[in-house]
Symmetry: C2
Subunit: 211 residues, 2 copies
DNA sequence: CGCCTAAACGGACTTTACCCCGTTTAGCGC
DNA sequence: GCGCTAAACGGGGTAAAGTCCGTTTAGGCG
């Protein structure tokens, strides 16, 4: 399929068996996830089930958390695409305010969907290595810039809002049960307060024009 | 002090050797922390260094994260006291807005101080088991109530603000180096955007009295 | 003062992430 | 096809968290 489409920008793109094994491993992980939660995904068990050596698993993903990051990445890319070039409230074409609210709602739903995987993708040592957190921060930063509030240091604000959006789901509200029955209403309260927060944050000062 | 003040509400308060060993362990942990970061605090090493069995260490703290939680608790109690009955901007006696801003500043400084310990106190399985995160949520919730904005569901908002305050430090901005030289300026940007966030959040609507 | 019981202790055992390095193989040039 | 080299593979080895259970002891009671 795409083997001929890639013009080999890098000297060694990747060996065919490596690709095959990566996909085999990811498929196997998905199987195991379906059977028992993230807890039963063990490096040994995964390797054995995929009929590969343990070393191979680590070579592909580096760490246990890496497996789940790889799993997230696929869906994350789809999500990102919706944000970058999807229909208006979420994608471009709406006001910064509307897009921020829409983004929050979409992100909460996404994290709720991928809750157990997202948590498993957290690494005790590395502090979210430019993974799924970054997209939120970058996108919020951009929208804050577009919103044109006269604030210095939008970077810190973007980081803080990222914490407001993702922190509760990654840190505090971790649902204890392994398999989350798809309850889309669970994130409603959070989405509502996100909307309020953003509306008030971006509301222009009563008597100021720009400064 | 309080040893005689507690009228033994529970049948067995705690055995003397247990108390002695807990304190011995905590002191030993502090020693080890001073020498090498949290990384070198191993259950085995700790037990050996304190001349105790590993089982004892686990009995006392339950889990590795529990050790660091115990360590935090001491300082956390002091922090909490400042908040509950300290001088005005942080303690009672100021407006809800001023107190929220002051709390954010104080909390950021606190987390920055205890950064490595606070992160080590995070448990992969349990989602911050009513530990140091809760004080923030509860306190913010109370102040939001006092602020008297006409919003429903202040609980979610409090959770979200907790994420805004603590998420960046616990999740994203994890400084990689083991020993943080006390650089009090590191949290400045965050404290500033917290102030902005709170000011805008609590700002009363231009032409509305209550709704 | 000695008994008795519940609590504390100790350390071997199990599980799991992660490392290492000798072996195999894909894929390129001839 | 043939060989060569860098990459991938395999799986035993290590370290550290957490469990189990037999042994010891604090401390209340007769």
């Amino acid at each position: 399929m795409n083997g001929s489409l890639v013009p080999l920008g890098k000297p060694r793109p990747e060996r065919a068996d490596a690709v095959r094994n990566r996909e085999l491993l990811l498929a196997t992980v998905r199987e195991m996830l379906a059977e028992g939660g993230t807890g039963c995904v063990t490096m040994d068990a995964l390797a054995e089930r995929a009929r590969l050596g343990k070393g191979t698993v680590f070579r592909r993903f580096g760490t246990r958390a890496g497996i789940f990051r790889a799993l997230l990445d696929a869906d994350e890319r789809i999500f990102q695409e919706q944000v970058l070039c999807g229909p208006p409230p979420l994608g471009p074409g709406a006001s910064a305010l509307d897009r921020m609210v829409a983004y929050g709602q979409a992100r909460i739903a996404f994290l709720l969907d991928h809750h157990s995987i997202a948590r498993a993708a957290l690494d005790r040592n590395q502090p979210v290595p430019a993974g799924e957190a970054t997209i939120t921060r970058v996108h919020l930063r951009m929208l804050l810039g577009q919103a044109g509030l006269g604030l210095p240091d939008l970077d810190s604000l973007a980081i803080q809002l990222t914490g407001a959006l993702e922190g509760p789901l990654l840190l505090y509200l971790a649902l204890p049960e392994p398999d989350t029955p798809p309850s889309p209403a669970a994130g409603r309260p959070l989405a509502d307060s996100w909307s309020i927060l953003i509306h008030r944050l971006l509301r222009t000062e009563p008597g100021s024009t720009a400064t």
